[in-house]
Symmetry: C2
Subunit: 296 residues, 2 copies
């Protein structure tokens, strides 16, 4: 039986210098802090990382930098590697596997919003064949409100059944608990991670994996404590711990998640570079940080 991935996973922010190059010093400090704060894994190149705005070269270089700098061990990393081109997705995935990463987070090819489950099945099975490594562990990434195309519970189950040692997890960022529940039920072999700690307890109760959540960028210690309570089955304590975490999440969402997180980091570090986002996203408003900080 495949190793079961569990835990609290931070899809780490990508800070940018004023010329919009990656601010490597801030990046490494942030990665270290998130692991020190309690994250089990880091997921570089998720949505919160502005991954779609990064080039292939930046992704491979940053992943290597995380490891060579000692900011993270490769087995603590599950980078996003899903692009629209199968060849490029295979290239990034192979690089992550060769580096020793724990897992990869793979979006469906998101320009093809009308593709069906059979076409997506062919895409993922060809990806697995091309990477051709027993070390490959895939976390499917379901975020239909941005990708325009999702991973249905039936497709997730089919991939897990055919590739039980490879397709081992799913991140559900739909924000729809009924979908998360449906995937857990349809594909009991998968570790299912809600995209928000809002559903962490519900997911753990049904055997889900934990969470991969934007708010782990600002609140990882509290979310880790909540996870530990849930795993221990201390549900009433968990319920009490959940309330302030939820209030912080709501404040982040009201500020648009990435801008709110970056504004908060700018305030906490005193480094205004944290306010930079790559276009088409707009720079963060410095006034957001204090509003969000008040909920911590």
């Amino acid at each position: 039986m495949a190793e079961r991935f569990r835990g609290v996973i931070t899809p780490i922010l990508t800070p940018f210098d004023d010329d919009l190059g990656v601010a490597r010093d801030l990046y490494l400090a942030h990665a270290r802090a998130s692991l020190a704060g309690g994250a089990h894994y880091l997921a570089p190149f998720g949505t919160t990382s502005e991954a779609a705005s990064l080039s292939l070269r930046e992704r491979t270089q940053l992943l290597e930098l995380l490891v060579t700098s000692g900011a993270a061990k490769a087995r603590q990393l599950m980078p996003g590697t899903g692009l629209c081109s199968l060849e490029e997705t295979a290239c990034l995935t192979r690089h992550a596997v060769d580096l020793g990463c724990a897992m990869v987070l793979v979006l469906p090819p998101w320009f093809y919003v009308n593709a069906g489950d059979d076409g997506l099945y062919r895409y993922f099975s060809l990806l697995i064949e091309r990477v051709g490594s027993d070390d490959l562990k895939i976390c499917l990434y379901h975020i239909p409100q941005l990708a325009g195309i999702g991973i249905s519970p039936a497709l997730a189950a089919r991939l897990n059944v055919v590739f039980p040692e490879t397709v081992v997890a799913l991140k559900d960022s739909s924000g729809d608990w009924e979908n998360t529940r449906a995937v857990i039920e349809a594909a009991p072999g998968l570790s299912v991670f809600p995209g928000s700690e809002r559903f962490l307890c519900d997911a753990v109760r049904l055997g889900g994996g934990g969470c991969i959540s934007a708010s782990c960028n600002s609140n990882v210690t509290a979310i880790r404590a909540l996870y530990d309570l849930a795993v221990a089955g201390r549900w009433s304590k968990a319920e009490a711990a959940r309330r302030p975490i939820e209030a912080h999440r709501k404040a982040l969402e009201a500020g648009g998640l990435i801008p709110a997180l970056k504004s908060l980091k700018a305030q906490q570090t005193g480094d205004a570079r944290w306010l930079n986002l790559r276009p088409p996203l707009e720079n963060a408003d410095p006034a957001l940080g204090p509003v969000v900080a008040a909920t911590l």
Copy 2:
């Protein structure tokens, strides 16, 4: 005043070998045939080209191949260069400009479905700044039903007013004539190309540029003749010419455009490689070709 782009433009199909590598022999033959058939320009790497499934390396290599093989002159090419990463979009765009291409077709960064006009304006203006060439001519690519984000008439007008020598055209693949009309009215400095010859006459009548249409892959000579009638103001002849063209378009659409076109090419050339599509799209049904051929 900027040069006015006009004409019939083929977003050329990309044929694949059975291992899903690009079938270069079929590609070049198809490009030559489309120009010989009457296309003013070729647009490699549009939606019909399965552009999102091609890697950056494939795009630069194929563009160079079209020119070095003599299949097309650089000034007959307007490749798609829009990716989600500004750096990679700038890289492909610079390559096309350096090669001498007439224009580039640029999608908005399509993972960012919630980006606003200000963010998109910043994206395109930074792209123009980074490419930094007077030879750069941009055709904005509006296809919101796949990209999840579009180019509003107001944004198109703003970009054309600020960069009148650079942002010179727009391809409207929304299929919504009211939107096409709104862009022509809002941005009279732009050459507006409907994504279907269905609206060619209406567009030319209002000063639009012609069309950039998938069906130019199978029916370019008839569409070119229609364009010539429209430009000459021979509207009643054009109306008569439009009917069979429209019937063919409908047959292609019923077959899902790319599979229908590829199945037709397989039939016409006797080469079954034309049936191959890259996943997540599924291979074309050979039975489609004869159905579509009957409308030619």
